[in-house]
Symmetry: C2
Subunit: 617 residues, 2 copies
């Protein structure tokens, strides 16, 4: 061993001992005939003191930043203590040292606040990884990994490895494929998830399975997606939805405790998908703050179970007489949504104009923004004063649950866009008001997703979660007893499949989906019906998923599970929304590893062995 | 939850309690008006008793093998106890039951001793996995995984994930490649190991890294190889070979303790590669038994440091006068090797003939076998009596360390073949004599491998371990100061590189290499010299490994590591030499997953997106 201690280990208690350290030179500071060197390793920094006697040797072998040095000496109490670091009370009075390896001048200094920009960081990732900021992220990642494994182990889960070279069954995302040399003309696929394997393991009786495992999707990379990513993948047999929710909120609470020392003792809040869409405008609401969306007028077909918004009368959709007005924007809009921004009633004209510009940006795409100031004195002031008398403004503000001092922001238009815009505006206002705190963590279960979406262009149903998700038990009959085909695609909402809810659940943390799963279909007949609903022929279903359908014939137990997005979970726990800094060697948005310069060309010999060639467009 | 207890949980202490179980029907036994059902899950088997009152219901819903059943009832003390299973004192007096899922008749019964043959097992792997034998293997695998992680965690190792989509750098084995859609005409490779990444992590200061990780090699599959396999991959910085040996023999001892409850307290034996070849004829000797190989005559060039075998005189190679004889087989042979099979002196003619046939099989390839019976009365009897008088037979037997009662087996011929044949014969005799016990475990470190082998056809050096392995510290100068090129390939043994020993080590368990590694090169100049020795041009080295050479310029610490073959380690601990039964979903010898029917064809759309096409020979 090149050292007796690490650079984070020594304390005043070791004063007088002779020790050997090894590490990297962080800084060199000369003061006349003595030199201080901060020596760094994974565990910390220790100050080395080179006094007069070593001067000649130091001059002959000068130390530079990032040199790798071994130093032996005596642990000394410092005269100038540094309370900011754990080793700050001591220094090493060096008696011998050697340079284990030199370093060129790094392209950026290895410090918390200098990273040289994204391109340089990625090219020199091995240097970037030395920075404290990145190191802390990887340490956190390992801590989450360890905590999850411990919890799952204690709950009888078994880590069982599933294969990486599998079969391409394009459903949903695009597969990465691997040409097979031994089976010319054929390809493996890399798994998008171990979904079917973990279900087979349930059929095999393994009962409680988990894996922290790489998955692959060949998708165009939106910001903060990676072609390879990691899941905490879990499955249980003989369970109902409630068992899964209990087990895995327990897992996340354990991670909070182990990694962040947070006692998350309250039961995780649960809302339905419909409530999420209704109250937050999206299916992964951030509930660290309120500002719930008020539906002032809503399209009849989307939420048939809802009734009464200020512009709707009961469920018959007639205009609310009390709010009759000439304001055609609201009158003609499909939907009108509002939020009450707390304490913003005194926004200036400049501020409200700026917000109006914000919602008109192409990414948001609204035509304008109506606001109602709920003054602290109980009066109301609005950008649509001339259409609505104060009593009507009050009715609108009340509907938005506004308090005196709040600013009500109202958006109107096409349902889907308006809902998304209001959701975005809610998040934006929360950011501006400091309500999205990195160190506050709010979990949420979103339940009862629709089983299907309808792809109008393709005139077929699409599985919202995936084709293995079970409908709610009381809706299995609806699925079995109705043919999935629809003559008129525009009337899909009238088809009974539209209303089938899935036994599916997402776990949301601070407005990010960190995990999701479902109770699975385990009956061959129902699974075949599902494949048919998705437009798969019997032959296609057998070709792609014959092994699973076959397995369901030999005693498949009821089962379900979920998968956590490990990269994202770590990022959020680390107070970041970028997963890239929590991955040791990430790829850029073109799927390239710029350090390796991969992907790259292959040899002619490889093409020949694989019996493929390029066919560039 | 569908159950209150598992099928392995109930004991006499629970008698009287009302419980619910769920599991698979193992057997149904009817006795008049009552029926016994063995219900099985991952945790065990519990006997269900259906009495008269449930008869009508059972007749209406008959239970078959592998049906999935939920049963509620009262825990009863059995009249007929079964001491062979932990739940054998009780049974469940069923009051209610339901069939959760039916099962077709399985293609083989789910029992320890019936597996339906290899093809059927693999096609119905989900049923095969239900068998106790396979389940125990996967449980052992998980136990090894858990034990390794715990040990490494306690020793400050961090699990850091390295990428799967990397760059193809064909060196040694063949890469699997993955066409990149976003970078048309370019390919990723799947990692053969995370070798360069773990070295970069050392450069980055992570100090102690591990991963239990899938690796990929596109090789023609010899028996018991898999195209994807798992390594326990480890690396440490600031270490010398001794540190690595200590750390990782500790790991294996910990696994022995946790998984097999074996206290392996003695220091693991160490031998050099040369001793292994000399005494056992191979580099992964099984030391559960002796029968070391005696070198009666050996080629001068191969072991220049050895001297004196019975047919060699000193180091000058002259024939030993005392053994002069007309026996041309020994006289003309390049090498003569012998083992003494303990207690076999009374082998019959039939037995010795059979052994002679065994060594003449094409897989062994020897022309014949000479034997010397060391009779218990002190006399000697041999198949070459007419060439050697008894005193000479005694000299040969003594050289082979034979005791009275042993049978000396002598092989002669070309060095390489004879050495391998003697090694094989040694293993065969040990098997026949019951000396290779599945429940005995003997570890061995093999050290000081040659750094290079010479590929005469290509006229270049080949790294015996891999190109990142460091020479012994005192031989670095030999490497740096000599040009690798050789004018006359046949004289490669005279080149100084022939004698360079690597700082490399293999861990051997019961005659299997379970792990191997090395201290790495961390100096750019030495690494460049290594690439040059392997026949790589500077451009090629930069193209393939520029990132690593670059990293070595910025303060690379001394480091080293090793990787365990996880599949093989599990198999040996499980008392098997076949890794396939320790992998949940293995591939066959053509690299196919017969359950999935993978690999398979891909869609035209996929070809088009990837801009490749088939080019079948």
């Amino acid at each position: 061993m090149y050292r007796t201690h690490t650079c984070g280990a020594l304390r005043i208690e070791q004063a007088g001992q002779t020790v050997t350290l090894a590490g990297w030179v962080q800084t060199v500071r000369k003061f006349g005939s003595i030199t201080f060197v901060d020596l760094r390793d994974r565990y910390g920094i220790t100050q080395l003191l080179f006094n007069e006697s070593l001067n000649a040797k130091l001059d002959a072998q000068p130390l530079g930043r990032e040199f790798v040095v071994q130093a032996t000496g005596t642990v000394n109490e410092r005269s100038n203590k540094n309370a900011n670091i754990p080793t700050g009370e001591i220094e090493l009075l060096v008696t011998e040292f050697s340079i284990l390896n030199k370093s060129a001048v790094p392209p950026f200094t290895i410090q918390d606040d200098t990273d040289g920009g994204d391109d340089l960081r990625m090219k020199y990732r091995f240097l970037d990884l030395r920075r404290n900021a990145v190191k802390r992220n990887l340490e956190l990642r390992y801590a989450v990994n360890r905590s999850a494994r411990n919890y799952l182990h204690e709950h009888q889960f078994m880590d069982i490895e599933t294969p990486f070279l599998i079969k391409s069954t394009p459903e949903g995302a695009r597969d990465f494929v691997v040409p097979s040399r031994m089976n010319a003309g054929q390809f493996y696929a890399l798994p998008q998830s171990p979904q079917t394997f973990k279900q087979l393991l349930m059929v095999s009786g393994y009962d409680r399975y988990y894996q922290i495992v790489k998955c692959f999707r060949d998708e165009d990379l939106r910001a903060d997606r990676q072609p390879e990513f990691t899941q905490i993948d879990c499955e249980m047999a003989f369970v109902e939805q409630e068992d899964i929710l209990q087990m895995f909120e327990g897992l996340v609470k354990r991670i909070f405790k182990d990694v962040k020392n947070i006692d998350y003792t309250e039961q995780v809040k649960r809302i339905t998908w419909e409530e999420a869409m209704w109250n937050y405008g999206n299916d992964k609401p951030d509930i660290r703050f309120g500002m719930e969306i008020a539906n002032l007028k809503f399209p009849k077909h989307a939420f048939p179970t809802r009734n009464a918004a200020v512009f709707n009368e009961g469920t018959n959709g007639a205009e609310h007489a009390a709010l009759a007005s000439d304001f055609s924007v609201f009158n003609s809009a499909e939907t009108v949504l509002a939020i009450a921004a707390p304490g913003c009633s005194e926004y200036t004209r400049k501020q409200t104009d700026e917000l109006t510009e914000w919602v008109k940006r192409p990414q948001i795409g609204m035509k304008g923004l109506v606001f109602i100031k709920c003054n602290k004195d109980g009066s109301y002031k609005s950008s649509v004063d001339k259409f609505y008398p104060e009593t009507q403004l009050k009715a609108l503000a009340d509907a938005a649950n506004a308090q005196p001092g709040d600013l009500v922001l109202v958006l109107a238009g096409n349902e889907e866009r308006t809902r998304k815009a209001t959701s975005d505006l809610r998040m934006e206002m929360a950011s501006r008001l400091g309500l999205r705190k990195n160190d506050e963590f709010k979990l949420l279960w979103v339940l009862d997703f629709p089983l299907f979406e309808y792809a109008e262009e393709e005139n077929r149903w699409v599985a919202r979660h995936h084709p293995f998700t079970s409908p709610k038990p009381d809706q299995i009959e609806v699925m079995i007893n109705n043919e999935p085909t629809i003559a008129d695609a525009s009337k899909y909402l009238e088809h009974p499949y539209s209303n089938i809810k899935a036994n599916a659940y997402d776990m949301v943390l601070n407005g990010n989906e960190i995990g999701g799963g479902s109770i699975r279909i385990y009956q061959r007949e129902l699974q075949e019906k599902m494949f048919a609903a998705l437009g798969m022929s019997e032959e296609e279903a057998l070709h792609k998923f014959g092994f699973l359908l076959g397995a369901f014939e030999y005693g498949a137990p009821p089962h379900g599970g979920l998968a956590f997005g490990f990269d994202r979970l770590c990022a959020i726990l680390g107070g970041s929304e970028s997963i890239r800094d929590f991955i040791a060697f990430p790829k850029n948005n073109s799927g390239r590893d710029v350090m390796l310069d991969a992907p790259g060309p292959i040899d002619q010999k490889q093409f020949k062995e694989l019996q493929i060639k390029l066919d560039l467009a």
